[in-house]
Subunit: 343 residues, 2 copies
DNA sequence: CGCTAGGATTGGAACGATCAAGTGGTCCGG
DNA sequence: CCGGACCACTTGATCGTTCCAATCCTAGCG
């Protein structure tokens, strides 16, 4: 592979064709439809390609085939709830998964006040082949918009508001995660397990809560009076809510997010109660904060790597026009147990 | 702005030209060199552009102008030290800054064992105009490689190993950050301020340490015997190191990272010492973990938004071929004071 | 030996934009 | 009344690839 001096232009199909003594089209076929070439020709062309260090020009290919091998993802500023903590892991997994089929991720932004901003321009300029939409939980309008627009996309997040929406989605089963977390707390011997989540309006929180409730009821417990909901993802509000529940006799906490779980840990610290030993706590997200919190916050870990892989696989099916039997895939998170819930 | 039925093709220059009764080139000029058109023609063309919802095809433009308006950034898996905590903020700021000049960020990945993997392909296929390289602190080979290759790039991180490297870079002045942090601890009344950092091999850590040292010496303190270095970014190792320093009489800690600072908080909790009141602690990164740690970890906050803006500005200058006077820009971080260092 | 089927290979056109070199018209000094 | 400068706009070529419709070659058959 020769890199060539900086000034000279990169080799093109014609360059390679001339050097190999074949036509442009044959070189193109060597890359895209090798089975059309006679083995010896193929070998010869490939040798020249390697020698010259030829790589097809993406722009030309994109222009001709009307496909960019780019997937768009809008990144919104901080200010969202929890989720951002796993964004890194998710992005990396997504990029990795896409690389396997020579696709790349294009990040764009938009006016925070307009959730649709940015999509239209990329579509019209044929800059991306499809989108990954990540924040459907609040019933945001991106998915319906893209669907009506005829644009390929997949979402990370189920269509809460539209139960029979027929687009491809992947989501994390928060209910299953909290069911497991709650059963774990029960197994360790806690019986007064409180729920600490966000406002009733948060689908995410209510979904997770349903897992707590089902596990609790399954063990003969009573969810009434053991539910605390706070407005924002705020440690201090969580700490106060925890105090109230502790006063009311709670011996463990299942939380909608790590921030809340850490708020509980703060309350315990103020009372001199030992996390894990005296009171069990489990959060959700497995953020760095959960790992570093003293003495380690058990947490439901969203399998974002699997989500990414599944999303990419769905994208390919959508782009290929394959009919997808099941529209959605629900992935079960795992539980990372730390000292906040072990005795 | 009409979106048009999903099946019909997007309007092109010719479409618009025909509708406006002018030539392709005139429409092109209306977008790229509006000052060449007569005001009335310009208005008419613009009206048609809006009406048809025309957006230039990126592939065609890219092919002709040899410029993609995409900037590449390789995202590496987790496993790096600290830094990742601010990655979200940084990425978002970068995307925002690039959007202002209609540029987008393209994420790619590569074999973790080969720091150069991925760059070459994108260059050869003319997929990106330039790169942002983020992990130069370890003396990684990307920058020299790209420079020799004649590829435009900027780095987030100064050229530690190559003091007179002449590429464009931006970095955060860790020494200044720790100088301020240490002076703050002194001002609050601590005089036995220990340094807790990573191994001597970490440039990042040693740079920050120099800020602690200069502030300490400036106040008549003695850095000898007050320095602890641990091998990894590990809470538990930090906790143990903190115990040792507390035994040796330390009353405050300046740390190379938040993880270390949180380790100190753990040690204090184990001894029943009150953070801020009895012992002061300051971390670095202002990660979510620092915000949530009990009772709030003061931290040096890297101005990644400014870094992103400056990087983008440098990219433009590099791409325009402008001679850049100063190769590098050093940005001063701010100090976020929380209860771990207030009395 | 001519003819044909089929695979291997080729050449021209097209994708949609910009570049470079025009075109015709108007204005103005000489 | 001519020639050149300038303005506003147009035309043809081009970027590098893939699509499409040939064309060439080879082997097999009658």
């Amino acid at each position: 592979m020769a890199t060539g001096p900086a000034g000279s232009r990169a080799p093109t199909l014609s360059t390679v064709a001339a050097a190999a003594g074949v036509s442009r089209q044959t070189v193109s076929n060597a890359l895209n439809n090798p089975e059309l070439l006679r083995p010896d020709t193929l070998a010869r062309v490939r040798a020249v390609i390697d020698e010259l260090g030829y790589t097809p020009n993406r722009a030309a290919r994109q222009l001709r085939t009307r496909t960019s091998r780019l997937i768009g993802l809008r990144v919104d500023g901080p200010g969202d709830t929890a989720d951002n903590a796993s964004m890194d892991r998710f992005l990396h997994a997504l990029v990795e998964a896409m690389a396997r089929t020579d696709h790349h991720l294009l990040l764009f932004s938009g006016d925070p006040r307009d959730p649709l901003d940015g999509y239209e321009d990329l579509l019209r300029s044929t800059a991306v082949d499809a989108f990954v939409v990540t924040d459907t939980y609040a019933g945001t309008p991106q998915a319906p918009f893209l669907q009506e627009r005829g644009a390929p996309f997949v979402t990370f997040g189920r269509p809460w508001e539209l139960p029979d929406a027929d687009w491809a989605w992947v989501d994390i089963d928060g209910a299953a995660g909290l069911h497991a977390a709650t059963e774990h707390l029960l197994a360790v011997g806690h019986d007064q397990i409180a729920w600490l989540g966000w406002d009733r309006g948060s689908r995410l929180s209510e979904d997770r809560r349903s897992g707590w409730e089902s596990a609790l009821v399954g063990a003969g417990g009573d969810p009434e009076g053991r539910t605390a909901r706070i407005g924002a993802d705020d440690v201090d509000a969580a700490r106060r809510a925890a105090h109230a529940q502790l006063d009311a006799g709670a011996t463990a906490f299942a939380c909608a997010g790590d921030t809340l779980g850490i708020g509980v840990l703060h309350a315990l610290a103020e009372r001199g109660l030992r996390p894990g030993v005296d009171v069990g706590v489990v959060g959700f997200e497995d953020s760095l904060a959960a790992q570093l919190a003293w003495p380690g916050l058990s947490s439901v870990r969203p399998p974002v790597e699997d989500v990414a892989a599944e999303l990419v696989s769905l994208i390919h099916r959508v782009l290929a026009g394959d009919p997808l039997g099941e529209r959605g895939t629900m992935l079960t998170p795992s539980l990372v147990i730390r000292r906040s819930s072990s005795r």
